[in-house]
């Protein structure tokens, strides 16, 4: 007679194993691609005269759209950093999305903003705009004060008032490096088909910040923030770089990405009914271009840096991860017609299935995996030694991937100049496997539950302000 529970257990174990090998196989492949792409990029970088781009040649003007919601602690530093960018022609458009704190007052006072007329150039639906201000000190600095409607809504309001061919969507709590725009615009210069490009996001916690510029790069003191430094290195240098090398850029971070304005307007702007509006836009652009047979490319560039403040408390980090998972699920379920759809080429056949099967479903396999292993062991259905070997393998593989990302960082950009920081990164690569990874899995599960419960909120983020210990 068939032992049903035993059979189910076997099936689940097999699923976990397949998931494990598939996921790590993909990580391995992207890592290998990332290595060659980074080498190629570093070599090419020497041929790019950033000074020439930012001063001598005619480059497309850009509007930086920075939605701000309760950002009074960081908004002035962020705007100062934006004002000192090394780029010939750009507008800064801070969109105060109905902040409940004094973001608006802080901006008006710090930059002497006065009401100024500005005609919309597009008419994407967004919450009503109360007033538009222009700075008396900096004619390229604008402030849109509008009724709260969420980040996507604020970006749409900014997009409606944008009149440059390119716009940069960013977070108002991010700091851009001086050359960031000159670097991120390069894909648009070297290939006319480029419709979007994103840069790398790094963690500013622990770094020394002066006048809105990162002066000294250091690892944060807070352990949670350190784990996130490692996560970001892995996600950007190894993950996105690898996917980009395969021509499969699927996400441009909402904290720093440049888009062709006309195409985004044509595609309908940002969707306001998702918390993953950055990813949703990129997926929709892929879809739009393929449907309308528009030749296009979307690029990830590893060295124009946007520095962002990461959460240092478990509650806030949990909220962020919950939102990320919800956003991912919202986007992937909305565009599920792309799954294994040859009409969308390798986007539909490779990257979408990867996100759908391995990333979205990840927590549903990982957490039950942990539990089932324990149940199986307790019920005598599984060998402790096998289990230990499996976990040891997962652990060593995880460490190898993280260490690989640190090595890629050392090979390319070497932002963490202290040897001690390098050592600590290696140590973080080891200890993040004990507790932190399981915690993120748990948060992702919670995010998935929130998705099924149709939760739509962003959740509050706490900001300490740049350079504050």
């Amino acid at each position: 007679m068939i032992n049903i529970p035993h059979l189910l257990l076997e099936i689940f174990n097999a699923t976990v194993l397949i998931y494990f090998f598939l996921l790590n196989g993909v990580y391995l492949i992207t890592g290998i691609f990332a290595y060659f792409a980074l080498k190629h990029y570093s070599r090419n970088l020497k041929t790019v005269e950033i000074d020439q781009i930012s001063h001598e040649t005619e480059v497309p003007p850009i509007t930086l759209i920075a939605p701000a919601y309760n950002e009074s602690a960081t908004v002035v530093d962020s705007v100062k950093s934006l004002l000192s960018l090394n780029y010939p022609e750009y507008d800064i458009m801070v969109v105060n999305d109905g902040s409940r704190d004094n973001t608006l007052e802080v901006m008006i006072k710090a930059f002497r903003m006065v009401p100024s007329p500005r005609t919309p150039t597009a008419f994407i639906t967004s919450s009503p705009v109360r007033e538009i201000y222009c700075s008396e000190l900096y004619p390229n600095l604008w402030l849109i004060d509008k009724v709260n409607g969420g980040k996507a809504d604020a970006l749409n309001a900014g997009l409606n008032h944008c009149r440059t061919p390119l716009f940069c969507a960013m977070d108002s709590d991010s700091l851009l490096e001086r050359d960031a725009l000159s670097r991120v615009v390069y894909p648009f210069l070297e290939d006319k088909r480029t419709i979007a490009a994103g840069g790398i996001i790094r963690i500013v916690n622990g770094c020394e910040v002066k006048n809105g510029m990162v002066k000294d790069v250091r690892l944060p003191k807070n352990l949670l923030a350190r784990f996130q430094v490692m996560e970001y290195l892995r996600a950007f240098l190894s993950g996105r770089m690898g996917w980009d090398a395969m021509g499969l850029t699927f996400i441009i971070s909402g904290a720093f990405g440049i888009f062709k304005r006309s195409l985004v307007v044509e595609a309908g702007g940002y969707r306001t009914d998702t918390v993953g509006e950055d990813m949703e836009l990129v997926v929709r652009l892929h879809k739009h271009c393929r449907r309308h047979k528009i030749p296009y490319r979307i690029k990830f560039i590893p060295d124009p840096v946007a520095w962002t403040e990461c959460p240092e408390s478990r509650t806030v980090l949990g909220r962020q991860r919950d939102r990320w998972q919800r956003g991912l699920m919202e986007v992937l379920t909305r565009h599920k017609d792309m799954l294994f759809n040859p009409r969308y080429g390798k986007i539909g056949m490779i990257i979408y299935p990867y996100f759908f099967i391995l990333e979205m479903a990840g927590p549903f396999i990982e957490l039950p995996g942990y539990i089932t292993f324990i149940i199986a062991w307790l019920s005598g259905n599984f060998s402790l030694l096998y289990m230990s070997a499996f976990f040891a393998m997962a652990f060593v593989f995880g460490v190898a991937l993280s260490v690989f990302s640190v090595a890629l960082e050392e090979l390319s950009f070497r932002r963490y100049a202290r040897t001690r920081d390098l050592l600590e990164l290696f140590w973080i690569a080891v200890i993040e496997n004990f507790g932190y990874r399981q915690l993120t899995t748990w948060w992702r599960i919670k995010g998935a539950i929130s998705f099924f419960r149709n939760v739509r909120t962003w959740g509050d983020m706490e900001r300490k302000g740049f350079g504050k210990k």
């Binding site: 040649t57 007329p117 150039t121 004619p139 006319k192 190898a400 050392e410 390098l422």
Partner: protein
């Protein structure tokens, strides 16, 4: 030999891992555990026995201590072959042993080997990152030291306090020459006149090196050399630069193009233009800005392209944009003849933008039919051109364009009026409740002053 050592290492590692006291998970017949139990004797007797026993068999005594409670775990040494490898003198053929394992045990063995392999990869990566860090730190320190050493001597030569460059050359080791070139380029960019010439002269002894690096150097070296040639002049290096223009790395090609596109290099433009299609995907504005670096002397080359009815539309656009940057007034008459024949939207736009810069009021009647175009990009460019060449004479057209269905055309008209000193006309429109009053206010605020 290396493979054998790796196999041996794997086996030894398995022994260490397998020696974990979790026998319950294994059958008494578990071969891996058997090996582990047999060889992991703390005194190391079994290992030494296997190495020294000429018969290749372990004596039962040697195993008794290690696993006296499990007689079934005695290793069958016939599966092991003992072969000389240096001092270790052991090679173990695992194949037959592996095949005799159960499916589960094989998986387990593969898992263990994978863990070990990954562990080594981790160690390798950590070591590589550290070595890289050390190497980079050393290189940085060395370059700082060299710069400190060279700087006073170079400035001594520039100030004519010490006019013997040979002393400087003697201090430059062959491995540091490319770095020296980079150093010179950095200084050259900040110099003018006689000092610049002196620095150029200082780079003369490296001409041979530059030539050889241009031809067959590393890409990073070629970049440095191109930067220097950009500063010292292309003549003498033409062939090498031309070769790099055709390099499969287009970024390097663009750098070579920058080197070619310098004043006095007009003779190289025909070659450049014949290979310009390599950069067809690049941004036109970037390309034309580089092409215009050649100065007024290169204008006839592009004038002939826009005058040629058979020219490639893309090349026409690029040429028109280059001429616009050069402010080449002679091209307006050439363009006048071709204007009505242009059909391609990008070509018309490029021609209009050139006209905006170099045209006169006499060109306007030629442009007005284009206002009927359904394309707002063309209409707004016509309005811009009209506004730039004769705003006073065509106020009616500009005022009418304020109500165009496209916001971009209205903006172009409002800007043209404001720039032409006709803000009052805009103010009247605002006061009379023009539907685009907000836009007009914005334009007055931004341009009237």
């Amino acid at each position: 030999m290396r493979r054998h050592i790796i196999l041996l290492f794997c086996l030894q590692s398995l022994i260490v891992l397998g020696a974990d006291p979790v026998e319950d998970s294994f059958s008494p017949e578990h071969p891996v555990l058997s090996i582990a139990a047999a060889v992991s004797d703390p005194a190391g007797r079994s290992s030494s026995a296997s190495a020294s026993d000429p018969s290749g068999m372990l004596s039962p005594d040697s195993l008794a201590d290690s696993d006296s409670e499990k007689p079934g775990n005695i290793i069958d040494i016939r599966h092991l072959q003992v072969v000389d490898i240096g001092e270790l003198k052991i090679i173990i053929s695992l194949r037959s042993k592996f095949m005799s394992l159960t499916r589960e045990d094989r998986i387990f063995l593969i898992l263990l080997i994978s863990i070990l392999l990954l562990f080594f990869i981790v160690l390798l990566l950590v070591s590589a990152a550290f070595l890289l860090r050390l190497k980079n730190n050393r290189a940085r320190r060395r370059f700082t030291r060299l710069e400190k050493e060279w700087e006073p001597r170079i400035f001594g030569i520039l100030n004519q306090e010490n006019s013997d460059p040979n002393e400087l050359y003697r201090r430059i080791r062959s491995g540091d020459r490319i770095f020296f070139i980079r150093f010179i380029v950095r200084i050259l960019r900040n110099l003018k006149g006689e000092e610049r010439q002196m620095m150029r002269d200082l780079s003369q002894p490296f001409v041979d090196l530059l030539q050889s690096r241009l031809r067959s150097g590393k890409q990073s070296d070629q970049v440095q050399v191109l930067h220097l040639i950009q500063e010292v002049g292309i003549w003498g290096f033409e062939l090498g630069v031309q070769k790099l223009l055709l390099h499969r790395n287009r970024s390097l090609g663009i750098l070579a193009m920058r080197v070619i596109c310098q004043p006095d290099n007009v003779l190289m433009y025909p070659f450049l233009i014949s290979h310009l299609h390599r950069f067809r995907n690049w941004d036109n504005k970037l390309l034309s800005s580089i092409l215009a670096e050649g100065g007024a002397d290169v204008a006839p080359v592009f004038r002939s392209i826009i005058g040629d009815s058979n020219s490639d539309p893309w090349l026409f656009i690029l040429s028109a944009d280059t001429l616009r940057r050069l402010g080449d007034y002679a091209s307006s008459s050439v363009l006048r003849e071709r204007m009505s024949l242009l059909k391609n939207r990008e070509q018309i736009t490029a021609a209009l933008r050139l006209m905006e810069k170099v045209g006169g009021p006499e060109e306007v009647p030629l442009l007005l039919p284009l206002l009927e175009s359904g394309d707002p990009v063309i209409r707004s460019n016509v309005i811009r051109t009209v506004g730039a060449v004769a705003p006073d004479s065509f106020i009616d057209i500009l005022m009418e364009a304020l109500s165009d269905r496209s916001i971009w055309v209205s903006t172009a008209a409002a800007v043209a009026l404001a720039k032409g000193g006709l803000s009052e006309a805009l103010q009247v429109q605002i006061d009379t409740g023009h539907p685009r009053a907000l836009l007009l206010q914005q334009v007055i605020a931004e341009y009237a002053s």
